[in-house]
């Protein structure tokens, strides 16, 4: 989804925020598409000018494919790509912008170095956001005079399709910067979720790893095949999780809500949670078993086709959520 129908578009907002995306890898590229798709002018910088140009070509190809799939109106592709300007120098990319999304390599020293450049090249009210998925913002911004306007804005890949971003401020971050960042991201069509403190994997990767760990253990231990585990999620738990998170599910499972649920089922729930599998070894044998079992499930379907059908499905489910509005979000 590129032109976010649910976003609160300010009349004439094309004169509004200008965005710089620093780093044109998979994440930066998808951010550029998401920002431009929501109507914002984007300046894209990568130390490799070739990488930046290739990223724009990939965005154009993806957009055309989405037009072909009926996910976007004809004409949207060139309109969105037209909002992206490749800049050969970092200073040119960030000159006069309101928001910078850094999507460089996942390395503390590199992130610190980029932040230093950004602080030097931008005015004191420009929001400096990092796409990091693993690093503590307090470490990235340690000792930086820009710490006050720096925060983590971690997207779900790909951000133009999955609308959640994780927001994590450092101890030195101005709370007003967090508020402004969240407001802007909502305009981009994103659902910002705020973490109160750093934790490995943030929310999304932790929750995903919790499910994946148990799923892997069930297959490696011979309890069931990958197809059985995936069916249980896809046609069972996932149908509910697309509309209610774990607390919403728990609340609707007992007449008195989540407190009633946890009190009433405390014993068996504690026993079940305590019986969950430890982290499996992921030996070569285990990986081979998981690969074979997954291949049996997918059959001969090419992964590209699977990805496209996933994207069409997610696009349609989001439209359904906007139509039904079962909970806020979409």
């Amino acid at each position: 989804m590129s032109v976010a129908p649910g976003s609160a578009r300010t009349p004439g907002f094309n004169a509004g925020p200008i965005v710089a995306v620093v780093g044109a890898g998979v994440v930066g590229r998808s951010w550029a598409r998401a920002f431009a798709g929501a109507g914002f002018p984007v300046r894209l910088f990568d130390p490799s000018a070739e990488a930046a140009r290739a990223a724009v070509a990939t965005i154009a190809a993806e957009l055309s494919e989405d037009v072909g799939l009926g996910l976007l109106p004809a004409g949207a592709a060139s309109e969105v790509v037209g909002r992206i300007t490749v800049c050969g120098r970092l200073a040119d990319a960030v000159a006069g912008v309101d928001y910078v999304q850094e999507s460089g390599p996942e390395d503390l020293a590199v992130k610190q170095s980029i932040l230093g450049e950004l602080v030097a090249a931008t005015a004191g009210d420009v929001i400096l956001a990092s796409s990091t998925s693993t690093l503590d913002p307090n470490l990235i911004a340690a000792g930086s005079p820009g710490a006050v306007r720096f925060l983590v804005v971690h997207p779900v890949n790909p951000p133009h399709l999955i609308p959640v971003v994780e927001i994590l401020a450092g101890k030195a971050t101005d709370p007003a910067i967090v508020v402004r960042a969240c407001e802007f991201l909502r305009q981009v069509g994103q659902q910002p979720v705020v973490l109160h403190r750093f934790v490995t994997g943030f929310l999304l990767n932790r929750l995903q790893a919790a499910l994946l760990r148990e799923a892997i253990a069930l297959v490696v231990d011979g309890v069931a095949d990958a197809a059985a585990v995936d069916t249980v999620v896809r046609d069972g738990l996932g149908l509910r999780w697309a509309v209610l998170g774990p607390f919403g599910v728990a609340a609707t499972n007992a007449d008195g809500g989540v407190g009633d649920y946890l009190t009433r089922f405390r014993g068996p729930l504690m026993a079940l949670m305590s019986s969950l599998s430890p982290t499996p070894e992921l030996s070569a044998t285990a990986i081979a078993r998981l690969e074979t079992s997954t291949a049996e499930m997918i059959g001969g379907m090419p992964l590209d086709r699977l990805r496209r059908s996933r994207d069409v499905f997610v696009h349609r489910v989001r439209a359904l959520k906007r139509e039904l509005a079962p909970m806020e979000g979409g």
Copy 2:
């Protein structure tokens, strides 16, 4: 969803399988509705005749509500209810049926006793299925002459809405009985998934507990609020999980599929999985915190309305899956 549009309906199958449901609690009631909704005549027995009659009244009310919500065609409610016959004696309920779904109390001795009665009252080729969510079929059928035709068929609540059933045979179960049970359940519109051996919580409750455990820990440890955790699932992970299970997601996250993914990300994935939270204590303070945080998320929305909007959403997502057929199932 009661009249399962995706089910493989044999022409003239109304002359086919007759089903007995033993136990008219929440699970038995929903089974009766699912079987009758798929076109099968249902005999419903409960030791309390009043409970059985109340269950039918509840089914009728639920069906009328679904007609009102546009989920079922007008007339469907009385048609479905008309297929359910309440029987005052177990022997009458199971006489001449092809399949028995036992949904009695979750107690080993009670399940063994009911199985004894069912074995005595049915012919040697009648499938005897138990809805148990916690008991090992080898224990329930230990020493029973009916062990050969006994198996666990554990539904997801409510089975008329969520189409996954977990199948677990005992060591003595005839494999042909498992095949016949799966075929029948597909006719009912269910996706049977087969477990190779008993494990606490089977697949679905384990996977759900894995996600819930981490979700609870994140809120109790003060990392984020329930609303943030639920948004990450509902507008992030859940959008994918409604179309791809954890192995499908992993396979589409690396160009070489799941083996490539697990090999390439083995280090950080193992580190993340090993950093996941242990089982939280669920003290009164923790439960109060979870309750307050969930209440802030839900706001004033009545749980009944939340359940209804969930049901409408799941119904529509299933229709979308049948239309798009992204993976098998729906």
